[in-house]
Amino acid sequence: MLKLNNIEVVYSDVILVLRGVSLEVGDGQIVALLGANGAGKTTTLKSISGLLRTELGQVTRGNIEFNGARLDRLLPEQIVRHGIIQVLEGRRLFAHLTVEENLIAGTLAHGNGRTKTDVEMVYTYFPRLRDLRRRVSGYLSGGEQQMVVIGRALMAHPKLMLLDEPSLGLAPLIVREIFEVIQKINQQEKTAILLVEQIAQAALAIAHHGYVMETGRIVLDGPADKLRENEDIKEFYLGLTQLGERKSYREVKHYKRRKRWLG
């Protein structure tokens, strides 16, 4: 359904951040996008959602297609109407609004008459939010804020959800909870998900397909179970040695093994 064909992204007309990125998300799929800091994962998401424009970025080459329509010339609000919602990194919420107002804000662009039932739907995914509905969202805990943010995206009934590091700064237990819900949303709502993550293990566990990015390019891709078995992925992202054992920090070399990727 979503296809990025060889896109190149430039910030402020000079800074080249993405080079020849191609990527595909099929109907109802979860696709993981992995990579180190600064690899260009967030930029890839922003070029899909159009939010690149708010940061003086531009898709200068290639194109982005969604169900046959071209996205890379559209404004963010038009892309939202195509059914694509980006959940921004760092649990960005309308901090002075209540939880329920935050959720309703997710429907403002569409204005379907089903806001009430949609709010209830979000509460079935995140029961804890029901008790917090009148609370000012800025004072919630990190995990609760992440729930609000995903719930707000869900309110728009997106066909494709772009999730930017939902695990950022959360306790491992909550990360697991969030990932379970992401998988549930994918199965029950048939929402395709493009998931950017640092915790490769958790992301590959629920994803169907994975891409690995490094310095603005995609260097590796494949079905998620194949990637989990890939030696390089194991060493660089899963922290395992060839023997499949967890590395002890005593043995970690203080230099990083470099790999020249083909591609």
């Binding site: 609000e77 109407r81 309308f94 662009a109 004072y139 728009a156």
Partner: protein, 298 residues
């Protein structure tokens, strides 16, 4: 000091303050939505009063009909101002937009003089002018009703922001522009909406004030009273606008009216008092009394 007149000055100040708070509301609306401090609010107000006068004088309309028509024009004018003058400046340094609103105030002043002449005009009364007497206090009925109308406008806006989807969209966009865009809101359209509403509020204030002091170019200067009101009420706060406006009205009336010594009165302390008070408040509360505090969790 003439303490016998204290209740009288207090009441008059309160009523005038109601109109100041409505002017302050216009400033708050635009600042909340787009972080632009609109120095042209007073001139929008003056223009609204002149347009209303023109309808009554040249078309012979009833003053209320002229008032309604001027409000309709104000919506268009506000939207147009945003579209033409401010939208190209989105993303530019804040100083550029401030200079733009200053330039706008001069342009509006010029347009008003060209179109309507620089004479003092008078508007037919919206309300009967007989005084009402409450014990020791005598109030002009038109001032009292203007106050009621201003408060009514206030309540309508508070309800609008709390309970309508458009109001929620404006509150959401006020918090975080990029986030608002990520949920599909068109931020420029919301800026346009904020300007349209602020311009309507300005016209309402203009007509209410014109009923008390006549239609003239100096009406634009009354917005200067709303500046200290929004600053110590808090630039982003609607309750702050109302409290700020009323405080300015009361301070001005009491400080200006109570001293009996003619030398002291000649100093026009009433005009200065709100600013002095503002400085003291900002000393202790830099965000103003009700300004949005940044939510920081540690």
């Amino acid at each position: 000091m003439n303490w016998d007149l204290f209740p009288q000055f207090l009441a008059t100040g309160l009523l005038t303050g109601g109109i100041y708070s409505l002017i302050a509301l216009g400033l708050v609306l635009i600042y909340k939505a787009s972080r632009v401090f609109n120095f042209a609010q007073g001139h929008l107000l003056m223009l609204g009063a002149f347009i209303t006068w023109w309808f009554t004088e040249n078309l012979g309309w009833d003053v209320w009909l002229a008032f309604a028509a001027a409000i309709g024009l104000a919506i268009i004018a506000g939207w147009l101002v945003e579209r033409v003058a401010l939208r190209p400046l989105i993303g530019q340094p804040i100083l550029a937009t401030v200079m733009m609103t200053l330039a706008l105030s001069q342009v509006l002043q010029g347009v008003t003089i060209l179109a309507f002449g620089a004479y003092q005009r008078s508007l037919p009364y919206l309300f009967p002018i007989q005084p009402i007497v409450l014990g020791d206090i005598r109030l002009k009925l038109n001032l009292a009703l203007a106050f009621v109308l201003a408060m009514l406008g206030f309540i309508i806006f508070v309800l609008f922001f709390r309970f309508t989807r458009a109001g929620l969209a404006m509150r959401a966009a006020a918090e975080d522009h990029q986030l608002a865009q990520s949920v599909g809101l068109s931020v420029p359209r919301i800026f346009g909406m904020a300007w349209a509403i602020a311009s309507v509020v300005a016209t309402v204030c203009g007509v209410l004030l014109a009923n008390i002091s006549g239609v003239e170019l100096t009406l634009s200067l009354i917005a200067l009273k709303a500046f200290p009101a929004v600053l110590f009420g808090g630039l982003e706060s609607i309750p702050g606008a109302i409290v700020g406006g009323l405080t300015v009205g009361i301070l001005e009336s009491l400080v200006g009216g109570l001293p009996q010594d003619p030398a002291l009165r000649a100093l026009h302390l009433g005009d200065i008092a709100p600013y002095v008070f503002m400085l003291i408040v900002l000393w202790f509360r830099p965000d103003g009394l009700f300004g949005l505090k940044r939510i920081e969790r540690i």
